[in-house]
Amino acid sequence: MANFFSDNKDLQYHLSHPLMKRIIELKERNFADAALYDYAPQDADDALDSYHRVLDIVGEVCGEVLAPNAEGIDHEGPRVVNDHVEYASGTVRNLEALNAAGLGGMTLPRRFDGLNMPVTCFAMANEMVARADAGFENIWGLQDCAETINEFATEEIKAKFLPRVSAGETCAMDLTEPDAGSDLGAVMLKATWDEEAGVWRLNGCKRFITNGDGDISLVLARTEEGTKDARGLSMLIYDKRDGGVKVRRIENKLGIKGSPTCELVFNNAPAVLVGDRKMGLIKYVMSLMNAARLGIAAQSTGLCEAAYREALKYAAEREQFGKAINEFAAVREMLKNMEAKTLASRAMLYETARFVDIYKQLTHISHDRSLEAEERQEMKFYNRLADGFTPLAKMFASEYANEVAYDSIQIHGGSGYMKDYACERLYRDARIMNIYEGTTQLQVVAAINHVTKGTYLEQMLRYEQEPRTEATAAMGAQLQELRKVYEQVVERVETLDKECNGYKELHSRRLVEIAGYIIISHLMVRQATEVEGDYLNPAKIFVKYAAKKIAEAASYINASETSDVELFG
């Protein structure tokens, strides 16, 4: 029996992180639900045990159902039939299995039939689903749209839609349009208030909408007539049961072929407003996007895991020159680097997810009662870290997914270029990950503020205070030196940017990457400190790799004059 949870010790390690205790405390609020729901935990150990058990179910469904269906789905793909999406047959079977396992509404409160699990656990589920089938993960992972409804909609709207998500209905977020991709402020889909029917009416077109024919769609639309920017946009919910939206076409993509990417036509489609008018992009999409970015980090990590395992297996089986190719140094080094990148993506993903959990949960609590001063501070602290870490997690994991998938094909040699092995599908699937939900270049835009504001530096200094063992002390010291390099280049860039506008923008990716390498290295060193056997070598390998990348970026910056702004201008 294949089980993607029980076969992955690294996931189990992250589930046992000390911060989980605080997360459970916040999530379960004195375990009050135990008196109301027969599946609610009695105490923290009980909750953690339930997380393990539920993730074990996810792991089994992924290993036994989703992974075997992936190739068929990639070939078959979805179709448009009578203006609606018909999923590939494997996709239908996947959804049936996950719904039978009751895995809808993983993070939703029990009063909406949810499992009330932390975002960290949902990210783990997403990672496993993506390892089995990255394209399918898009459909299933969109249940995190429900989090946005749960955070901002009225109780009445929540009661209407959230139990349906828990029952397994799928979601979509309808944001982009032909002329509004990265620049969502340009969205033009029109929403007009229908006084008679007491609903909003949507008219216009959306493009590149993942699972666009989902049951429940969050739609970004222009409610304020005559406006042209972000301030005229609101967030609405369209219910497929009401009708009014046609799927005009499904895009023919390079990868994630099981995930229907739709062009939608709204024709007087009824919709209800979420939260306040005009806050659609400014507030709600930002929340939605942060969750979605964490989702892509999870998807990317799952893809790394799949691509690494494919390569590992092939390298052990394939013989050349009378021995398995994994006995050749060149192949071994690639495999070790792939492993380190996979562990690194995962370390960053769950560190971020834990930060998100704490601040999100405190936010929910603040809706019910006023927070104590200490709690308010805690919320602010983790909110800032979550905002800083989310773009890093998304950026690094999605770039690594591409690199690991690339190397996976390389290890397969000529066979990897053929359609006979899974690595070619993984390579195609990976390619979108550093593009959608904000390209890597846009993650840099989000992250550079935290370089300037010192979020990353402060966190590096905190990591430096963590205990080290004899085996990890040297790496700890090396990271302090690298942090000084980071401080030096940041200072140089800040200074020269004052002389020459655009200098910081030119180097922002390099600065963000240096910060990311140091932070992820700290996480790897922490793991190696806690569980030496499994993590010491990958940590050493990653720190070496990070040091090389940092040296390269720093030497580029230090050799770069302000005239470079014009050179690349």
């Binding site: 027969d38 599946y39 609610a40 539920v54 009751g102």
Partner: protein
């Protein structure tokens, strides 16, 4: 009040013989249970799924698992509850040790007389013995109609059941009056997965003897929730004739066990010549390897 149809699934915890390693057998030629994971017999899972489908169709029905075995066999009852069963019965005691299929079906039929179900479902056979005898023997002992090799539940109401059977060269659809015994093939629908909420709800379910060994806190917790209590029958609870139980009730005697090792014979080299291939085809057809 409308009648509640009581469905019982007979299931067995078996050593996982599907992935046998070199430690699978002891030097004496018996199964080394310590080296093999104890699992839910695969065809019993198909049976559980069919029973749950019966419940889904009828609405007003319950599904319970009956298993005979040591205390740890309660694991498969919990597993069944995670997948949709309402509860279970563990038939356990040293009197049952050494049972062959006759003694097993006798013990199970005694328990079933106590439970008095409307439908009994079981997997066709268990992967440790591969006899396929227990289901039919139970039907005979209880004097019930039996439908073997069931592949699909076609229809069911509270009086009769329609089943598609998988036969060697085709299939047939039969109707049986209830109560009846149904044995289910591996070709039937796979069992639904464990359900998250059910796992969280039933994870602390314990059989009577397990409960006795649990700490006070756990015991108090389970005492408050009857759904977490797995019924446990000792031999005396099912009013058996003691001589028909266990070793004394088992006419099967194992005379000798041999380890059979298949040894590869001499290899043969063929050319790509049509004649050589033709000759090989003839040989394979003659030996019934092909065709």
């Amino acid at each position: 009040m409308e009648k509640v149809t009581k469905i019982v699934v007979m299931a067995k915890q078996v050593p996982d013989t599907r992935n046998v390693g070199k430690d699978a057998m002891t030097a004496e030629g018996t199964v080394n249970r310590a080296a093999l994971a104890a699992i839910f017999n695969p065809e019993d899972l198909n049976a559980l799924e069919m029973a749950l489908q019966m419940k889904d169709t009828l609405g007003n029905a319950t599904v319970h698992v009956l298993t005979m075995g040591p205390q740890r066999a309660a694991d498969i009852i919990r597993e069944a509850m995670f997948r949709g069963a309402d509860g279970g019965y563990l038939l356990s005691g040293k009197e049952f040790a050494g049972s062959d299929t006759l003694a097993t079906s006798y013990a199970l039929s005694c328990a079933l007389r106590k439970i008095n179900p409307d439908i009994i479902v079981a997997g066709r056979q268990a992967i440790d013995g591969d006899t396929a005898q227990v289901g039919p023997q139970v039907a005979e002992k209880l004097d019930l109609p039996q439908v073997t090799y069931a592949e699909e539940l076609v229809a069911i109401n509270d009086r009769e059941i329609t089943i598609k059977r998988r036969l060697e060269r085709g299939s047939e659809v039969v109707v049986a009056p209830l109560p009846a015994v149904i044995t289910v093939n591996a070709s039937a629908k796979e069992c639904r997965p464990r359900n998250a909420k059910r796992v969280m709800k039933f994870k602390y379910a314990l059989a009577t003897s397990e409960l006795a060994a649990a700490d006070d806190k756990r015991r108090a917790f389970i005492d408050e929730r009857s759904c977490l209590h797995i019924v446990e029958f000792a031999a005396a609870d099912v009013d058996p004739d003691p001589t028909q139980l266990g070793l004394s009730g088992s006419p099967t005697k194992v005379k000798k066990i041999e380890n059979v090792v298949f040894q590869a014979k001499e290899a043969k080299t063929l050319t790509a010549d049509d004649k050589d291939i033709e000759a090989l085809m003839q040989e394979l057809i003659a030996s019934h390897t092909l065709g």
